[in-house]
């Protein structure tokens, strides 16, 4: 249970949150036309006659968009509806060329599913929580309006018009900004694992409509407001916090929350009512007569299922099963690129626990320093596996491994080659080690006396001095044994 509450004058209020996430489906062409979907093109160049709603134009659905939505549904264990339909949502706006959006109201492609957010003590999420997902439907994106290019005109760019979106509608199952943030992050991770959406929130590939209401614990749901098109996790959390407080203050001062659409202004960190859209609430949904019902066969569904990768939860469980800590497993599975990199490392023969520790500390640390993504890592999984292999088989020590890794990052050379070239191999040559021990003990006769007098903590000092004399290349176990013998 979340213990997040808003403290008002009349007591504590619980916040109820539902999210409608619009995720752009990864596809080459639009949902109902052959125009390209690439981001950032010249205005109105990626617009077909169909997208501009010229007279007599007709929609024909893109198989890949349907396939990606189905795969996404499977990834959240949802009911996949083999029979679905497209409906028209009718309203007038300059970014909506047809005068209706083709969407799915009555019979969506994907029915109920869920995802799980992990416990996060720091964020106040005490334990893992399952968040219900009501449905996923497929629909068209609208175009874009620009208001700042002309004193009396707005400009319409239809490049986005008709791009495929999945609208992923959660149940009102979240109770704190942190839970909502974790939900969006988890959803984004799943979409990126599946490959159905690039999750790029800055480019608008993912944006959320945030439904917020407040109630006294145990009461029925309050009236909700919907804040549209919030495009970062941070903003989603800020909207919830701000909106919950606004609603509590409003109710406590004798007002009532009206069900309305609101807009978030990140610069002022506040929401305001979008009165301009209020009179357009009668959308007159009806089945699109240009499109027949969408019927999916088993072969199509089988292919969708077979093409799904291992998903974050399964991967996390597998890692933990291999002895990796829950914390490291979370870190490694949060981003699909990191998880893929780590899997390649395991595949190349690295031992899971050591590999996880090395990736989360050494590799991530180095990438952070270099300002690089894991996809740009100068060291490949195979090269890293070679390095970790040298540690595992005792060829080099952990501390030497750090040096070798730095050299790998600088030169791009392989670990074994560097160890060979620079003579960094760890030695178990007892003669050479014994000789260095003898020197260390004679140079520190006072400390030897203290040790023998009972100050056993000095043992570590002798190990360090011997290792230093051996330039780090002595096998620490052998050093230990020989030192014990020498100190009798």
């Amino acid at each position: 249970m979340s213990n997040y509450t808003i403290k008002g004058e009349t007591g504590e209020w619980e916040v109820v949150i539902g999210l409608e996430v619009h995720a752009q489906v990864t596809s080459n062409a639009k949902l109902f036309s052959g125009a390209a979907t690439a981001f950032g093109a010249e205005p109105n160049t990626q617009v077909s006659l169909v997208d501009a709603a010229m007279p007599g134009m007709l929609p024909v659905p893109n198989r890949e968009c349907i396939r990606q939505a189905v795969r996404t549904g499977m990834a959240i264990d949802a009911q996949i509806n083999k029979w679905s339909r497209f409906d028209r949502k009718n309203y007038f706006y300059a970014d909506l060329p047809q005068g209706y959006q083709i969407s799915q109201l009555y019979h969506p492609l994907v029915g109920e599913g869920s995802l799980t957010i992990e416990a996060d003590e720091k964020a106040g999420i005490a334990e893992a929580k399952r968040i219900g997902i009501e449905r996923i439907h497929v629909e068209q994106d609208a175009g874009k309006l620009m208001h700042d290019q002309h004193p009396t005109m707005s400009y319409v760019d239809l490049n986005r018009s008709g791009v495929a979106l999945m609208e992923i509608v959660s149940k009102p199952d979240m109770r704190s900004p942190a839970e909502a943030g974790a939900y969006v992050r988890k959803l984004r991770a799943i979409l990126r694992y599946v490959g159905s959406c690039d999750g790029n929130m800055e480019e608008g590939s993912m944006r959320a409509d945030v439904n917020v209401s407040v109630r006294k614990p145990g009461d029925a749901f309050g009236t909700r407001t919907e804040t549209k098109n919030v495009n970062s996790v941070r903003f989603v959390m800020a909207v919830i916090e701000g909106e919950a407080k606004r609603q509590v203050a409003l109710i406590e001062s004798g007002g009532t929350v009206v069900q309305e659409t609101r807009l978030y202004d990140p610069d002022r960190n506040e929401t305001r009512s979008m009165r301009s859209k209020e009179d357009a609430h009668d959308y007159r949904y009806f089945p699109d007569p240009d499109l027949l019902p969408l019927e999916l066969d088993d072969a199509f569904l089988d292919e969708c299922r077979a093409s799904l990768p291992e998903l974050p939860d399964a991967k996390r469980a597998r890692y933990i099963g291999e002895g990796i800590s829950a914390y490291n497993a979370d870190v490694l599975t949060a981003e699909v690129e990191a998880a893929r990199w780590f899997d390649a490392l395991l595949e190349a023969g690295a031992k899971p626990v050591a590999a996880a520790n090395w990736v989360t500390s050494e590799l991530f640390g180095a990438l952070n320093r270099l300002g690089k993504d894991i996809s740009e890592s100068p060291v490949s999984p195979a090269q890293a596996a070679e390095l970790l292999g040298l540690v595992a088989d005792g060829t080099i020590s952990g501390s030497i491994a750090k040096q070798v890794f730095e050299k790998m990052l600088e030169s791009g050379d392989g670990a074994a080659a560097i160890v060979d070239r620079d003579g960094l191999k760890q030695t178990s040559d007892t003669g050479a080690i014994e000789a260095e021990i003898a020197k260390v003990l004679s140079a520190n006769a006072d400390k030897v006396a203290q040790y023998k007098g009972g100050k056993e903590a000095l043992f570590g000092f002798f190990v360090g001095q011997t290792m230093k004399a051996m330039q780090g290349k002595a096998n620490p176990q052998v050093v230990n044994e020989l030192l014990k013998k020498a100190l009798g």
Partner: protein
């Protein structure tokens, strides 16, 4: 030399092929007729140069031995089909001056088959109407004139050519073109054909691509040919039909050679006569024609059986919910943003611009249907109206399926009356709608149906018989139509007065 404009499509095609005349001679003859028939107002745009260019190509192709199925045949194009570089208006002020940069699939197929375009034919605005009186560019006048029909019917009064394909029907009847395209949403090919003594077929829904045809009601709209006889309808249809990947409702079926399989011999066929189409108080001339048609089909070897289509009575009200609902949404794109009319009153915002543009650009009948459609889809009314209508539609379709278990084709009148006078029904929208009572059921069920001229009434105006077939059985429809055509020997034509 014979008047080339009296020839049928088949005769023009065959005569041109045989070298009896050149395609240019044919095009020039029709161009001259078009130019001389302004009084009929059948065309919104005349394109004599297009017809001539196609004719020159046809003559060259003949010399080269590369003739196409419609080489040398000029036709009229209903102004609902987008034509690349030629104004396309749907007879509305909204699209006045709109010049598409694309060609509809059906018109492209016709040009690819060698046909030439004489011009863009007038119609009811956005194909909404049964008399052609809703056109922004003025109504078409039928070439037909009434003989003395009694005290209530003025002799010689201007008559409606039917609608919405009234420009097509009038132009063919007046020999301005040998054939034309039409579209049929609730009778818009069949009723005007019946009113003007020509033939027309609406194929199975999905046979002809809707891509590039200005939409009225998507689940009903279907293109088809209009021509002087059944053979010409078959020739035209097989050059219009065919699968189109750009239309998600297009039927992925091969196009049969309907012309080659034409036969007026109906031995072994059963013809159904729907009991519910015998309306009380119907014009006795219509009843008499129907009975004569039954006799003709018996004579052609068919067995006649009585059938029942119990939900017939509800077809028209269902249609007047479904078609306006779809239209209200299909016509939302006419908003003054991307093409067509824009009316921007001083200081108007975006939503005011929409309202002003649409008030100015749509005629009264279009507005009426958009209003009805908007109402029946609005919150609280959707299920009572739209869902109920789609359920009734399913029942109407079921009626036909059941009937076709006992018969192969259905015979009925095309319309409940002959052509009415212009202005006679404009005051009462409902009276106008009732004119489609026999045509609408087949539209709702997506079935192929055609009208063939069968008789003259007592005012010496043409009357049409309708044949409705099973889905995909255009051949059965055409063959029954041919059997009637062979026996009705309908040769009457409008006397030239224009």
């Amino acid at each position: 030399m014979t008047d080339l404009t009296n020839l049928t499509v088949a005769q023009i095609r065959d005569g041109h092929r045989a070298g009896d005349f050149s395609a240019v001679e044919v095009a020039e003859a029709f161009n001259a007729n078009v130019a001389g028939a302004k009084a009929l107002n059948a065309f919104i745009v005349e394109t004599p140069e297009h017809a001539l260019a196609a004719a020159k190509q046809a003559d060259a192709d003949r010399a080269a031995g590369t003739l196409k199925p419609l080489s040398g045949v000029p036709i009229g194009m209903k102004d609902l089909f987008a034509t690349n570089g030629v104004q396309t208006t749907a007879a509305s002020h909204m699209l006045e001056g709109f010049v598409p940069r694309y060609e509809s699939t059906v018109s492209q197929k016709l040009w690819d088959a060698g046909a030439g375009m004489l011009g863009k034919l007038n119609l009811d605005q956005f194909a909404m109407g049964s008399s052609n009186e809703t056109s922004y560019f003025g109504n078409v006048i039928s070439p037909w004139r009434r003989k003395d029909g009694g005290p209530n019917l003025k002799e010689g009064a201007a008559l409606a050519p039917g609608g919405s394909s009234g420009g097509s029907s009038a132009a063919i009847a007046a020999r301005l073109c040998p054939a034309a395209t039409g579209t049929d949403t609730g009778g818009s090919i069949r009723q005007p054909a019946a009113f003007t003594g020509i033939s027309g077929i609406k194929p199975t829904y999905g046979r002809c691509s809707r891509w590039g045809i200005v939409a009225f009601a998507s689940s009903l709209d279907q293109a088809g040919p209009m021509a002087r006889d059944v053979r010409d309808c078959a020739i035209m249809l097989q050059n219009m039909a065919g699968f189109d990947a750009k239309d998600a409702t297009s039927l992925d079926l091969p196009v049969p050679d309907w012309e080659a399989a034409l036969s007026g011999d109906l031995k072994g066929k059963k013809v159904g006569i729907p009991r519910e189409y015998r309306l009380d108080g119907i014009d006795p001339d219509i009843d008499a024609m129907w009975d004569a048609g039954i006799a003709m089909l018996k004579d052609a070897g068919a067995e006649v059986v009585e059938i029942s289509l119990p939900h017939t009575k509800y077809a028209l009200p269902a249609y007047y919910i479904i078609a306006p609902a779809e239209a209200s949404s299909n016509l939302a794109r006419y908003d003054g943003v991307r093409y067509g009319l824009r009316d921007l009153p001083q200081g108007a915002g975006l939503q005011d611009m929409y309202a002003a543009t649409r008030a100015e650009g749509f005629g009264p009948e279009v507005k009426r249907r958009i209003m009805i459609g908007t109402y029946v889809l609005s919150a609280g009314f959707y299920d009572a109206y739209y869902t109920q209508a789609q359920k009734v539609r399913a029942l109407i379709s079921r009626d036909f399926t059941a009937a076709f278990e006992t018969c192969d084709v259905i015979l009925a009148p095309t319309a409940p009356s002959a052509a009415f006078g212009l202005g006679e029904k404009t005051a009462d929208p409902l009276a106008m709608y009732l004119n489609d009572v026999f045509a609408v059921p087949a539209s709702l069920a997506g079935l192929p149906a055609m009208s063939v001229p069968a008789a003259l009434n007592r005012e010496e105006l043409p009357l049409g018989l309708q044949i409705i077939g099973k889905a995909f059985d255009e051949q059965g429809v055409l063959n029954a139509g041919l059997a009637i055509e062979e026996r009705a020997s309908f040769t009457a034509r409008a006397e030239k007065w224009w």
